[in-house]
Symmetry: none
Subunit: 293 residues, 2 copies
DNA sequence: GACAAAATGGAATATTCATTTCACCCATGG
DNA sequence: CCATGGGTGAAATGAATATTCCATTTTGTC
């Protein structure tokens, strides 16, 4: 077997990185001048280093949507003997990595070195993780299923959320659009919200989100919709929330905070899951119907 | 090919460990009663788990001073289909170690009670946690500090983010408002964005957020602002992102995904931290100035 | 617009690798 | 002392895998 690097032997004699960080820098530096497919797979490699370490040429190739030969070409292009040689770099990265405890210490030290700014970032990351793990420990599986059920049946889903909750409904609106689910984001800048929700029927449904201090508008709208017998699902932060009263189904999500600024990570995870679960349910129902006919 | 476990099928029907810790316990428990060579190689495996994860049967065998076939026999003896099957356990250990929150994630994945809906919710929680722990492990302290620096000095902060990134800038807009920081959310429904950003001066700054597939509008606006010498801070998902090129300072946030739907939790945490850090910095500067006078 | 050079996809090939096989060894019980 | 069973080493086998080759497409240049 030849070494497979004849034509580039002299051009980069001393420049073949033998550790991951150098390789990363090397790739980032030259990515601009690489051929299209090589750049594509190089980007994939840096984004999914674990997959390179563990996968086979074929599996990686299909994941990165290229031919296996492209992987070999990339390796040669970078000066390695072949794909396997390149792969050892990615494996070395995992070997060198010390235990997770040490890792955390290192990142802590770095954050202290980074000063006050990094401490803030760390604080919010911690708050987000706390919120998520709290939700995962007592995840409201039944409420979630009911919510999926109610919203899954709705012709149009009305989304209510102001102020701090607005980014959540904004994201849901995006997700619903992507998934082809009819919905209406109640967030007009021209004050016609009240009028918009009057079109809701009992065959529709609403999702209302509000945290303390509760936006009075959201409460009012939720109450109005419930009064007209439109099912209302609520996402809020306390059983005593006025939203919980105005809803047919609600869940409580308690978010941790960093120096007074509350996270919305757990709620966000919920808001990402909800549209997908709804789409999933509708897809099943559709295929079930098709089978019936 | 047979499963290769005929003779021990009934003796340990339900007892083949699928994670490293169980396997370790399992081996320690039975090591005494194992044949000599098998015990020898089992001890080697527990002492050098990384070698098992990445080595070939031949290389491991010579390192442990046994025959390759002994490795296959050990795997069979423990109830696995073959050496490769056993090896996946050792590889899984390295994968999991990446995340400092591995235990929680595992318990999350295992608690698959509650049906398909809960599984979706679980999936998104897992993806969110992965994203967060990845960011906390390699948190971009310097980039973050630079970003705080640049944005802290700006008279007006312009926020650019469309589609999936819009909820992020929407939240920042809310936070900036609460903190009394002058800013401008470039998200008009009437198409005057291009005109809005023309008012930006080098004394202002922009924060642009975009993930693959990059919204062309955001890229264009960021480039336009950079061309007019307004500092641009970017938040994106790859060093090769067109946004990274159009920015004076950028950070990479790689988000995990659940069945193709990417999380934005890590980015969200960053977007919550940024305004607070900026406000913090300005407050310090102010008090410093007051002391001077 | 034509040509040359580079890049790419896909199939053929060569190699590596896990697994199986079989001959031999060694302990144990008759 | 022999017979029997599992245990072990070493080579044979066949599957899996990386690599190479070649026809075709794309890119850059005159």
């Amino acid at each position: 077997m030849t070494r497979g690097m004849g034509e580039m032997a002299e051009s980069q004699l001393a420049a073949v990185p033998r550790d991951f960080d150098s390789l990363r820098a090397h790739i980032i530096e030259r990515q601009e001048q690489m051929p299209k497919r090589l750049a594509q797979v190089a980007a994939f490699a840096l984004a999914n280093p674990d997959d390179i370490a563990f996968g086979t040429a074929a599996s990686i190739a299909s994941a990165a949507d290229v031919q296996p030969s492209t992987l070999v070409r990339l390796a040669h292009h970078l000066g390695y003997a072949g794909f396997s040689d390149l792969q050892t770099i990615f494996r070395g990265r995992l070997r060198e990595r010390t235990s997770s405890y040490e890792e955390r210490l290192i990142s802590l030290e770095q954050s202290e070195a980074g000063g006050a700014d990094a401490a803030v970032l760390n604080g919010f990351l911690t708050a987000a993780m706390q919120s998520l793990s709290r939700l995962s420990q007592q995840l409201p599986a039944e409420s979630f299923s009911r919510a999926v059920d109610i919203l899954g049946k709705a012709e149009t889903i009305y989304l209510l959320g102001k102020r701090r909750s607005y980014p959540l409904v904004a994201h849901m609106s995006y997700a619903f659009s992507k998934l082809g689910i009819r919905h209406q984001l109640i967030a007009s800048p021209n004050g016609v919200d009240q009028e918009s929700i009057q079109f809701a029927t009992p065959r529709d449904a609403a999702l209302a989100i509000s945290f303390s201090p509760y936006a009075p508008e959201t409460i009012r709208h939720a109450e109005a919709m419930q009064a007209s017998r439109t099912p209302v699902v609520a996402l809020t932060d306390s059983p005593f929330s006025p939203l919980a009263r105005a809803a047919d189904c609600w869940f409580e999500v308690s978010e941790a905070d960093f120096s007074g600024f509350r996270s919305i990570s757990a709620s966000m995870a919920l808001c990402m899951a909800l549209p997908v679960a709804i789409a999933e349910k509708r897809r099943h129902k559709k295929t079930a119907k098709q089978k019936m006919e």
